[in-house]
Subunit: 379 residues, 2 copies
């Protein structure tokens, strides 16, 4: 395009003139089905088509406030956790005739607020996925536009949650069954509501099953954060680790491996969310799968319900089930536990020995065997 100004197309006035009716009639022909004589409407539609008329969403939104835009604020685009959430949300939104504005908060409450500030006036509703903002900041938002929070509970603000408690419970049971006695929780961001929830559930579950639990962290919810955690883990070894999320878990596995610990032979690691990549990392991660797509879908649906009813429909949180996916990062505890800790204590980048493939029974039917793999790390 040549000129800088956005091109303006034909307006209802042009259509009206061409069709020999009033602009208001053109408007109604489109937005108010029965309000206009069928034949007239048809004629108008034909003329509009011919002229290439396209309603200007801005102009429409100005008097009505209906922008047909919904915002989905996520804490980090770079986190695969949000893939399917976005997908689910996008689908639900566009099916309802809305366009989704995806905004990234860069894991920062400030950035989140600023971004929100910028687009709140533009959208009809907001989904805050894994928000890093304070409760009160969220309430400020909720006062301006219908709001739904994802993976966070907040009185008076509708929310959709994963059943972390049950998921975590299953993870703990799994480890208990394998024979572990102590579980270490690798914590994620302090600002994360889910993090507190998960830790509490682990703690309670462990208590009931008579296991010991401890917690380290917080760590950034990234692969890098997980590797940091691995170093700390090396200092105080356990046989079983549950991580805030898969990203951390992947980092932990890699970090431990580099430090010479074998996963799962010496340390079992469980992640959370079942993100893209958790099945093809090495070893494939045992993880508590979040219903990602459904989370996105449901949060938009709740938002739409609110938009329609013009009142926060019953504010009980929507609770979606989690599911333990057992892969190959967990096994019964071995005994060579001290070996790698010492190695780690000595130096950094490991000089371990573990060479024979781990022996554990595959959890599912199919059982092809793959060659070993090295753990070099070109970060």
């Amino acid at each position: 395009m040549v000129n800088g100004q956005p091109q303006r197309g034909p307006t209802i006035y042009d259509v009206a003139r061409a069709a020999g009716v009033a602009p208001s009639t053109v408007s109604r022909a489109f937005s108010r089905p029965g309000r206009v004589n069928a034949e007239t409407a048809e004629r108008i539609r034909a003329v509009a088509e011919e002229l290439g008329y396209r309603a200007n969403p801005l102009a429409r939104a100005l008097p009505t406030g209906r922008t047909a835009l919904l915002a989905l604020v996520i804490s980090d685009v770079t986190n695969p956790f949000f893939f399917d959430i976005i997908r689910g949300a996008e689908e639900a939104a566009s099916k309802a005739g809305y366009t989704l504005l995806v905004a990234d908060a860069h894991e920062s409450a400030t950035a989140e607020r600023e971004t929100l500030e910028r687009m709140i006036t533009l959208v009809e509703g907001v989904v805050l996925a894994t928000s890093r903002m304070s409760d009160s900041a969220i309430r400020v938002i909720a006062k301006q536009r219908p709001t739904v929070v994802l993976n966070r509970a907040l009185t008076d603000v509708p929310s959709v949650l994963t059943d972390n408690a049950r998921g975590m419970r299953r993870a703990v049971e799994h480890l208990a069954e394998l024979g572990h006695h102590t579980i270490t929780y690798v914590a994620g961001p302090e600002a994360s509501w889910a993090d507190g929830m998960r830790w509490r559930s682990l703690h309670d579950g462990a208590y009931e099953l008579e296991l010991r639990s401890r917690r380290i962290g917080p760590f950034p919810p990234t692969v890098r954060g997980g590797r940091l955690a691995a170093i700390e883990l090396a200092a105080h070894p356990t046989s079983a680790v549950v991580c805030y999320n898969d990203l951390i878990a992947i980092g932990v596995v890699r970090g431990l491996t580099e430090l010479g610990a074998r996963v799962p032979a010496e340390v079992s690691v469980i992640g959370f969310d079942n993100i893209f990549g958790s099945d093809f990392c090495s070893p494939p991660l045992t993880t508590v799968a979040a219903p990602l797509r459904a989370l996105g879908d449901q949060s938009i649906k709740r938002l739409l319900a609110q938009l329609r009813n013009s009142a926060p429909t019953e504010s009980r949180p929507t609770m979606l089930p989690a599911q333990l996916v057992v892969r190959e990062s967990t096994a019964r505890p071995g005994r060579r536990r001290k070996a790698w800790t010492r190695a780690a204590a000595v130096g950094a980048a490991a000089l371990s020995s573990a060479d024979q493939p781990s022996k554990r029974s595959p959890t599912a039917a199919s059982a092809a065997t793959s060659p070993g793999t090295r753990a070099r790390t070109p970060e």
Copy 2:
């Protein structure tokens, strides 16, 4: 919030009344710095602050056309390829005071066109990343709004590209150095411009280095697509495979492994893009790294330049360098090539034997060893 209608805040009229000036003066106090007496402006600003006045972007955009919105259309949110592109783009956009609208085309030209249709009137400019639309469809878009295409060349439409040719050349050289004689290219979507480009470069490079090349596909650019490709590869074995992208490469590796072929001992696999996950899959992928972040950043910058100059500034494509990242999915060709093909021919889900860890020299200094890993696949 209680009422359904988006809340309307104070307007310039309210501010004007409270400050005892005309609305136009309030408007200018904000948008036209020197146009209003400094003291008056200060007073207005104070009153506005006190009233909590926030300019309504819609109302502002209506007469001016300046929505401060930019669209980034990507072919699939679920593809990690776009992570850092989005990041880079988002950053560049918000630094320039624009908000980025990220839209997903679901790998479909139709969906892409529809989405675009819906938001083109809303945005000031468009970046088409890895578009699946036809050239002519893109030109139609470009006629309506300033447009930049990413990873695609198109006369008259500014573009930013990765130097695929050179990257592919490096990949081919790498395989040649290792001693491979034939290279199979696993093709991605036919609608992808980059796909054609990559294949051509591979073909040419192979020719010059006196290797043989062939091509299979197209396959969907997903892990799943890669596994499909693996089956086809099993029918016509080669020692070296270059894939359209990392996702396919990961799928190929997994598929081959399940079929009983050892990677890289029997088959070397190279991916493209260096996406999230390509470093922690098993084995870590040798890949041609695209400058993802820079791609996002540069495409927005070009778009902004166009927006400012109100004319497509010099239309030479911006070319960004690619880089071969050698990890562990490539090695010199082995001889047991026939083994896995037969196995594959026999049945599907593999029953291979390969058990001893592969032996190859790590490419970099550090060299910790990890235990073997199973290839079960809970898809």
